[in-house]
């Protein structure tokens, strides 16, 4: 049986771990409320951009635009949004797995946002075109624009023929789900079901021209989606960390309870033994 001192030491160490997980839980939950507010603020922009595109697609014959046309897929690009730090349950791994699943066959290049995703993919010998770090927790629109432009350049140059985005969808504070969406070429059918309120779309004028409007809006849309996904993923990372740390704290208190029980048992048996020895000793003296 372990000695009393050993058990005492273990209790102490579990206790300090618990304090850390508790603190992380609190930090994550306070950050989460801010991240959720940001997530809510980005939604209208995203929704309206999407609606604008839907309207243009439905009202125009512009299906010949270069961002709408499918090309033969030789190279696929997958953007993966993960966190920079661990200790957040399966958050990072789940989205990486989802990203890997989309490219089971064919050549794939990855663009990672967050160092966890880069590490994961590097470990599996995937080619990484670009890796960004330090922006996962607090994404700015400028970051998204920067990354979006880079990926678009790759697409324009023909280095990749398809662009996917793997991110984590925020379902609720206690649950989120990895998701993969196709960014380019834009799928016109995806926009068909979005209801626009305009009565007659064919009358719409495009300034300066339909082509130029699409040229401008589609990259913008890409950045918007990317930014939205980054903000959403940031909220997910924090909520996963919160849940993970919550259960870690709970596990630690369970462990402390059972260690305390063990400690008391050992202590009691030590006392019993001591009494037996004293009684035995005094008996021998009589």
């Amino acid at each position: 049986m372990a000695s009393m001192r050993d058990i005492k030491r273990r209790i102490k160490s579990v206790n300090s771990t618990q304090q850390i997980t508790k603190a992380m839980n609190l930090v994550a939950s306070s950050k989460l409320s801010r991240a959720k507010a940001r997530f809510k603020d980005t939604k209208p922009f995203f929704r309206h951009t999407r609606r604008a595109i839907a309207q243009i697609m439905q009202g125009s014959s512009g299906a010949s635009h270069r961002y709408l046309q499918k090309r033969d897929v030789k190279n696929t690009c997958v953007m993966v949004i993960t966190g920079d730090r661990g200790l957040c349950g399966g958050y990072n791994v789940n989205v990486c797995k989802a990203a890997l699943n989309t490219v089971q066959d064919g050549n794939a290049t990855f663009v990672t946002i967050g160092s966890k995703g880069r590490d994961y993919l590097k470990h599996r010998n995937m080619s990484i075109a670009a890796g960004f770090r330090g922006i996962s927790e607090k994404p700015q629109y400028d970051d998204a624009r920067h990354i979006g432009e880079k990926v678009l350049k790759m697409y324009d140059a023909g280095e990749v023929d398809e662009i996917y985005l793997a991110y984590t969808e925020f379902v609720s504070t206690i649950s989120n789900e990895p998701k993969v969406i196709k960014l380019l070429p834009l799928d016109a059918s995806e926009f068909e079901h979005i209801k626009t309120e305009e009565k007659d779309l064919t009358l719409t004028i495009y300034e300066p021209s339909e082509e130029e409007v699409l040229d401008y809006i589609i990259p913008k849309y890409l950045n918007t989606v990317l930014y939205g996904a980054m903000v959403e993923s940031a909220a997910c990372e924090l909520s996963s960390r919160m849940t993970a740390m919550d259960s870690a704290t709970e596990n630690a208190s369970e462990m402390i309870d059972s260690l305390n029980l063990l400690y008391n048992r050992v202590r009691q048996s030590a006392i019993t033994q001591e009494i037996t020895e004293i009684v035995g000793g005094s008996n021998a003296l009589e």
Binding site: A52, E198, L203, Y206, E207
Partner: protein, 134 residues
């Protein structure tokens, strides 16, 4: 919606900047300033860097610097979607002046590693801000 007014929404990625009915909104598009009033034909237009004016009868004109983006005009009003937009009173004049000087310096020097496009855009942004303030 009030008679002869048009619903206007100005949205950036980080906030919904304006939402309400107005008499007229003037924007700088790629092909020049346009004023949009109630009953305008549906239109989608790409915006340039410039000043947006929101006019309402009996109220002071609201002005804002808008840097790119696009506007969508439909039956249900005008929606302006832009990366960056600032109300006139949010602009820091001293900072804009500084940015202008910096950009001008860069453009004048023309060093080899200069990103001309970026410097020009920065200059344009600074000029819009300064123009709006003064």
């Amino acid at each position: 919606m009030a008679e002869n007014k048009i619903a206007l929404k100005v949205i950036t990625p980080v906030r919904e900047m304006f939402s309400g009915d107005v008499d007229m909104v003037i924007m700088r598009t790629k092909s020049g300033d346009v004023g949009i009033m109630h009953g305008h034909q549906p239109m989608v237009t790409v915006l340039d860097y410039g000043v947006m004016r929101i006019q309402n009868e009996g109220e002071d004109e609201k002005t804002a610097a808008v840097f790119g983006g696009f506007a969508q005009i439909g039956d249900n009003g005008v929606t302006v979607l832009t990366d960056i937009a600032e109300w006139a009173d949010e602009i820091d004049l001293a900072r804009a002046e500084e940015a202008r000087k910096r950009a001008e310096e860069r453009l004048n020097k023309r060093s080899a590693d200069l990103d001309v496009l970026r410097a020009e855009l920065a200059l344009k942004r600074a000029l819009v801000r300064i123009g709006l303030k003064s």
